[in-house]
């Protein structure tokens, strides 16, 4: 198993209608590119909806953390449907209960508060990735 | 603009809108920011109920934003009775 395939797949929901989807996306990009580039990778959720053989091979049996904006759980459902093993499932709306009344921005652009939520969420995702690594989950997935 | 109604009664005949106690109001404008129906306006730094007819009959949600309790509403039972009466009269 290659180093790349040992990484946790952080799967964002592709939400484009509301701020929650953008927060999911930004947090996933942040954790995969800045916080844990050696332990996490992104994948295009849209690609998993096509019959792309290569993408399905990568996700099949791989450990995933899904980050969904809303309760429709597009990332969790599509990730599992494509064969991914969803170890953790996060919903941005749940996070918002701790940020009641905060204006996080829109589906297009985040406010400073919105970016703060992204940073918090990305931090949480990094911890989850560390925990999965410590538990040896990723080795077993081989 | 066509006449709006509530329960078949012309909105203009229903006395329902926020009252501001100016002794308590500190002009924080939280109520104005909260209300999506443009009931409030700020005129020369002062908060006014500019569009009382826009107020949703029996909605009191903006009152919750006022930490100083400067916003009150008419008596609900009286307004209800008035609406019932107007409905009867209109039949």
């Amino acid at each position: 198993m290659s180093e790349e395939n040992r990484k946790v797949i952080v799967l964002a929901c592709s939400g484009i209608g509301k701020v929650y989807g953008l927060i999911a996306r930004e947090a996933v990009l942040k954790v995969a590119r800045e916080l844990r580039p050696d332990a996490a990778r992104t994948m295009c959720l849209a690609l998993l909806m096509t019959d792309d053989a290569e993408a399905h091979e990568i996700i099949n049996g791989a450990t995933c953390i899904t980050v969904d904006g809303c309760p429709k759980l597009c990332a969790a459902k599509n990730g599992a449907l494509a064969g991914g093993v969803v170890a953790e499932q996060v919903r941005v709306v749940d996070l918002f209960r701790a940020y009641r009344g905060v204006n996080a921005g829109t589906a297009t652009a985040l406010t400073a508060d919105g970016w703060k939520i992204v940073a918090d969420l990305a931090g949480q995702l990094a911890e989850k990735i560390d925990a999965l690594r410590a538990a040896g989950t990723l080795e077993e997935a081989e | 603009m066509p006449e709006t109604t509530f329960m078949g009664v012309p909105r203009s005949l229903i006395d329902w809108s926020p009252r501001i106690d100016y002794d308590k109001c500190n002009y924080c404008m939280e109520c104005a920011k909260f209300c999506p129906h443009q009931v409030y306006e700020q005129r020369d730094g002062k908060l006014v109920v500019a569009n009382p007819q826009n107020c949703v009959v029996f909605c009191r949600a903006c009152g919750k934003t006022c930490g100083l309790d400067a916003i009150t509403f008419p008596d609900k039972a009286e307004v209800t009775a008035k609406i019932k009466e107007l409905r009867k009269g209109g039949e």
């Binding site: 592709s14 484009i16 996306r25 959720l45 | -």
Partner: protein, 144 residues
């Protein structure tokens, strides 16, 4: 009954693995928010699988334009397969070049001036497709 105006649907790929995903999203939102705010609707692409019948009807209810980051054209393929016929397919890499589209994914606050110009260019292409979609398809009744 008055004829309901039919809005045009725009579906973006949102690709999380490449810059084209960010560009396609932002260009799509440009149409929705700025250029044709009252005449466009969108839907999150993965809802075709994660949602219900209501969501899958999307491309049958609206003339639909898909916007994809790269030549894999996931939004186009998934929409045709799961929802309905697509009126126009925009591919970001055809407009801004493969290099720009297939680079690292971008945070929305990390676009440089070139990339911001690219978003406008892509939005121009969507807008042209939008005008065509509205012009060629007479308003069908979907309400009531």
């Amino acid at each position: 009954m008055a004829e309901a105006e039919v809005k045009v649907g725009i579906i973006s790929c949102s690709g999380e693995d490449l810059a084209g995903g960010t560009l396609s999203r932002l260009a799509t939102r440009k149409l929705l928010d700025e250029r044709r705010p009252h005449h466009t609707v969108t839907i999150c692409l993965p809802l075709f699988l994660a949602g219900g019948q209501e969501e899958r009807m999307f491309a049958r209810a609206f003339p639909t334009i898909t916007v994809d980051g790269c030549e894999k054209r996931c939004a186009y393929k998934a929409t045709e397969r799961l929802s309905g016929k697509v009126n126009a397919s925009i591919v970001v890499s055809d407009i801004v070049g493969k290099e720009a589209a297939c680079g690292c994914p971008l945070a929305t606050d990390a676009l440089n001036e070139d990339q911001q110009r690219m978003v406008e260019l892509i939005a121009d292409a969507i807008e042209a497709a939008f005008d065509k979609a509205q012009g060629t398809r007479k308003a069908a009744k979907i309400v009531d």
